[in-house]
Symmetry: C2
Subunit: 420 residues, 2 copies
């Protein structure tokens, strides 16, 4: 049951947060490249990070911090240099960045979390970063979310931002989020980053559980090209400034907060998938009939990441055979006689066998969905009418979704022609 509503303000929509984004001279382009999110008080902090064994200094740094204490006040993010594959010096740069910010903010450096995005193998331009920090802090404002969202993007075509509000104990509670990423893209301009703020009071363990679950149903269910980055991170703060009763165990309130957190993450994740390089539309794959949720998501992700399915959608080709084949190779056993495939309202396959359907009308549906989601400025319009592939594999109660985008000439062009 959805009982929340959209509000404006992104990560500064919840109470007790300020944000800023400035041009610090880190990006060669001269565009904004340094962002800060600050909670007025120490906030419960949870994080989900890349599972890659080749990872950035900021990922190791945040993991260490969050292992030592489950709270933080600030998230500092630089764009331009990924600070990945930079060895011990990269780690020292990370610590120095945190200490520098802590000094200017007059908070413990243990309360600073870090994220980086940009070119792998390049250290952060520390002089520029350090010179930028006082200016960044001076820019902090309760309407600074858009500036921050704009300073964390690299190859993104649009910024990604959302905020939702619900009530807990008759008082408003908000969750806001910003994100960047369009696949692991451009030569080395890796990274999916997402920062979430919340003004509810919630226990650290529960908040981390909610975030892990939200990540599984959002960022871990999107795919642009199957490439996971060295720097991927999702950090969520909950500062209790809504003055609502503390949520310390599972129950109605926890479900409501967790559901809203998932909705925020899903919005951001879909926005990232839609912004996939060269993409012309968002694809939503809905899988039902598995034994559990994870199995359904795995089938959905396999379909959403199939180059053949993605190429077919780009070609506006209602190619059920590729969808069936992708479902079959997802390593989740099912009886192929149970397979049912729908594309929008078109039933393409049932009981494991193809059905006659109006191929031109189905192709027109694909074309229409792409046209519908092609407005660059309006992210909601871009993600609210995806191409829907619905697959049922049996009678189980498991269901899950995944999101992706189509594979176009531009993907190859962008990724083949960038450097050298």
């Amino acid at each position: 049951m959805i009982d929340w509503q959209r509000v404006s303000g992104g990560v500064t929509a919840p109470r007790g947060y300020r944000a800023a984004g400035i041009k610090a001279g880190l990006k060669p382009s001269g565009l904004p490249d340094l962002a800060l999110i600050l909670s007025d008080v120490e906030a419960i902090a949870a994080g989900v990070f890349t599972t890659s064994h080749v990872k950035a200094a900021c990922v190791d740094y945040c993991r260490q911090r969050l292992q030592a204490k489950h709270s933080a006040r600030a998230i500092l993010c630089n764009a331009g240099q990924a600070n990945a594959a930079t060895g011990k010096q990269g780690m020292m740069d990370a610590f120095e960045s945190a200490m520098e910010l802590a000094k200017v903010l007059d908070i413990p450096s243990e309360s600073v979390l870090l994220a980086s995005t940009g070119v792998i193998g390049q250290r952060i331009k520390m002089d520029a970063l350090k010179a930028g920090i006082p200016k960044l802090v001076a820019e902090l404002s309760e309407t600074g979310s858009d500036a921050a969202a704009n300073a964390i993007i690299t190859t993104d075509l649009v910024t990604k931002s959302i905020a939702l509000e619900t009530t807990i104990g008759d008082r408003p509670v908000r969750i806001g989020g910003i994100a960047k990423g369009s696949g692991m893209i451009h030569p080395n301009m890796a990274t999916m980053l997402a920062f979430v703020t919340c003004d509810a009071a919630v226990s650290p363990t529960l908040w981390q559980q909610m975030l892990a679950r939200a990540a599984d149903k959002s960022f871990n269910s999107i795919t642009v090209d199957g490439d996971t980055s060295t720097n991927d991170c999702l950090i969520a703060l909950a500062n209790g400034q809504s003055r609502t009763p503390a949520i310390t165990e599972m129950g109605i309130e926890a479900e409501k907060l967790g559901g809203m957190l998932t909705a925020v993450c899903q919005h951001l994740a879909k926005a990232v998938a839609r912004d996939g390089e060269g993409a012309t539309c968002l694809i939503e794959v809905q899988v039902t009939g598995t034994a559990d949720e994870a199995s359904a998501r795995q089938i959905a992700k396999t379909i959403a990441s199939s180059s053949l399915v993605k190429s077919a959608i780009f070609g506006r080709d209602p190619n059920w055979g590729r969808i069936a084949a992708a479902a079959g190779r997802a390593s989740i056993p099912f009886e192929q006689d149970n397979l049912k495939i729908q594309l929008g309202n078109f039933l393409l396959m049932e009981h494991g066998q193809p059905l006659p359907f109006d191929r031109n009308a189905a192709s027109a549906y694909l074309k229409h969905a792409a046209d519908n989601t092609s407005t660059p400025g309006n992210i909601s319009q871009r993600i609210d009418n995806p191409v829907v592939i619905a697959v049922n594999v049996g009678n189980g109660h498991g269901s899950g979704k995944a999101w992706g985008c189509d594979l176009s000439y531009d993907y190859v062009k962008i990724n083949a022609e960038y450097t050298t």
Copy 2:
């Protein structure tokens, strides 16, 4: 130690085999579409099949046959209709095909194995198939391998064929093979098929073990687009007609035969990878320093299947960052400080950190390797000088290879624009 040599003749190079390929009217194009390989005597038979849960009738058929008895005399293969997602009727068609061939050959239908490739969801054109069988049998010859190789291809640009010879007990032993496939390709023209013949005498258990191992090091180590087909199959016959001593347990002879089987499969697998849709070159990824072979292969396959790496190679971009990132996300733990990456002779990264290198020269290496392998007619030339990516991740003794191809505009074009 390689102690075998190339011989001509493909699947009819070993003693006691005949083959044929004809136009039976199954393909809309009118090209050859029905192939037969026949052993003069009942041969030990082993098979490796798609792991997809959506699979063709011929796959279920062969699995049942090989479970019941580990031998066969004939492999019948049709191209044009995949007979996948065709339900019970598809299975009945499979049995009927086998019985029809058995009748004409006057052998038990239990000695017939089947393979299909073509459009998913389409049943085999049974009338054409049945009418073609007597003609096919009449065409059987000891020089029929090329005709068979030509009748099993669909979207392939070239046929794939090889034969090797070694000596066991001072007598010549040969293994021959033919294959088709260029990824799971064209709308529904799925399928990697490979048929191997051998004239050694070997126990069924050992032969199946050798084939499984050869498949892991060849067909299971190639990737074109990550899509596994509904019809993939590798069938190997060993008929003992070399009159060499039976190999019934592991030892020098078994290693020699197994090694040669792997070499045959690797040649065919590389030829399939090189023939990937839109590909301009073959990529070989060599991984060392893991705990075991399987881990090395998994890292190698992840790199070879990365869309970003593949796009970079197509763009002749020596992009070590993408290689490092792909290695890191292969789910095989390693210390990133141990990571070493070479592209041809260019050392791009060592101790987990990027090194300065001559970017133009490295790009020229990629261009040269592609030019070198661009002769469509000469399959050996196409696969003997691949782009080599060598990655070391530690001090373990595990090593493994994978093969793939680059990702070009033509891949998207072929797969986006085919149907509707």
